[in-house]
């Protein structure tokens, strides 16, 4: 079976094709591509998928599911990935697998004996983050993905470090944006990811998705929608206080 995986949650556009047999856990990544460039996902993502498919003689109806990094992240980026996934799944009549974005990002450090703390810059003095660990090769969610302040997530890491952990790895565009602040505040053993492991990667999303597919964790293409972890500005401010001109001008 084959799974197409997409991650357009951040600045990187990434796509991968996973191939394997169930229930065997071995599979392989047939093809993967990531671009971290100023073009919009609207211009890069579908040409990238097309390229991967041409290289590996795949067609849309060869896929058994489309996996999508479901969020949080850039609202527009998430929707480009979701709209693409929903349309492909509609044509091929296959389900969608919703992989939490922070989980996908943390999977870059599969097998690490450190705590893994992915950070995405969420603006408004917040990060999208979570905490993950690997035990005997299995990913364990220590703290589910959330939108929070840097102080709060550093406190959570500190508590874990006091308990048992062998330090922490920070990664993601939030780790870049807040690097100096983290260095100042982190009074525990910490390292930052190198560039090749520092961004969303659809191949990890694909591997997580294959595991979820095995467990029946899929949704219909019609029902699939991004996970924003945030309401819109209008909903936050309420109808009375919200001024439409602030977003329409």
């Amino acid at each position: 079976m084959k799974i197409l995986a997409i991650d357009s949650s951040g600045l990187v556009a990434s796509a991968a094709i996973w191939e394997g047999e169930l229930p065997a856990n071995e599979g392989r990544i047939l093809a993967v591509s990531s671009t971290d460039y100023k073009k919009t996902h609207s211009q890069t993502l579908l040409p990238m998928i097309d390229h991967l498919c041409r290289d590996t003689d795949c067609k849309a109806d060869d896929f058994d599911a489309v996996a999508v990094s479901v969020g949080p992240g850039s609202f527009t980026g998430l929707r480009i990935g979701s709209a693409t996934a929903k349309a492909i799944a509609l044509v091929s009549d296959i389900p969608v697998i919703e992989v939490p974005t922070l989980m996908g990002l943390a999977y870059n450090f599969w097998g690490s004996d450190r705590l893994v703390c992915p950070l995405m810059d969420a603006r408004r003095n917040q990060v999208y983050t979570g905490l993950y660990a690997f035990e005997n090769g299995d990913m364990v969610t220590v703290k589910d993905q959330t939108a929070t302040g840097l102080d709060e997530i550093l406190d959570a890491v500190r508590k874990e470090c006091e308990k048992k952990c062998k330090g922490v790895i920070f990664l993601g565009d939030g780790a870049d944006a807040y690097r100096e602040e983290i260095k100042k505040l982190a009074d525990f053993d910490h390292v930052f990811a190198p560039p090749h492991l520092n961004r969303q990667d659809a191949s990890g999303v694909a591997v997580i998705a294959a595991g979820m597919y095995r467990e029946g964790k899929t949704v219909s293409a019609d029902d699939h929608k991004p996970v924003y972890l945030r309401t819109s500005q209008a909903e936050r401010e309420g109808a009375k206080n919200f001024d439409l001109r602030s977003v329409n001008s």
Partner: protein, 353 residues
Amino acid sequence: MSFNTKDNSKLLVLGIESSCDETAASVVRGCREVLSNVIYSQIDLHTIYGGVVPEIASRGHIEKINQVVKSALDEAKVSLKDIDAIAVTYGPGLVGALLVGVAHAKALGWAAGIPVVGVNHIEGHICANYIDNISLEPPFMCLVASGGHSHLVNVEDYGKYEIIARTRDDAAGEAFDKVARAIGLGYPGGPKIDREARNGNPDAISFPRANVRENEYDFSFSGLKSAVLNYLNACNMKGESFDVADVAASFQSAAIDILVGHSMQAAADRGVKKFAIAGGVASNSALRQALENECEKREIEFMKPSPVYCTDNAAMIGVAGSYEYNLGYRSDLTLNAVPNLSIGKREGVSKKS
């Protein structure tokens, strides 16, 4: 024009529209026959904010797009494999909203092996006239008036448009919305003012009909809007109440005079024989009547779409896309949303070599 790709009468085009707050899909046969026209309106979600909130609109589109597309195919009793081309609105409009339709349409086309063509939303509005006026052929002149646009366009041929006039400030529909809010009618202003004005006296209050100096055909509505707001303020200062129906009727009468006056001037100067209207404001009953009367006086053939094809819909995108397709235009996988796309311009849509 030539139809080089397929027998024109059988061409099946799926139209997709998501430029504002309606998620819409439609199947059109032979360029003008609407087999289905599915519209999921989010208006209830936006009414409490007094207008369309872009982020809420975009979220609504992604939740409904699959269901809307499937309904359009089901109602037309066709499947994707019967579809010859997918036409999608790529501008102008709200960028986040447009991107849902564009990304979806491109992936749909890619996965199903169907060519995609990007369509200009305003040209779609103009092409809505082809649906109900089966004998209409270019050239004709068209007044496009909606919440975001006010244009006078010369339709020279299929896919060939010349802008004759535009608004210098507010769009016509924007003025309707703002005035409706000020007199307590709420959103959306167009239909509410239209209804209220029927009970009022259009000559009760004299509001200005502004002209623009540099281009005599250009529209301006901000002066009219300010005059209405000043009138309301003056009433408040004096502790007097105002008659909502009279204000609605007097404002609407002034707005229509501007639209109709400039339209008829341009039509006369250019010797136009056919005149059409398009866009959400084109469903205003008083505007339709006024233009019909003025055109009749001047022996100009007057055309209008049914109200359902005036407000945002995907049938008009299917129609416009059918003609673009027949002219050989296609979009590739890099088609992007162009929020400020001009009438008569193409970006990411080109002739297939």
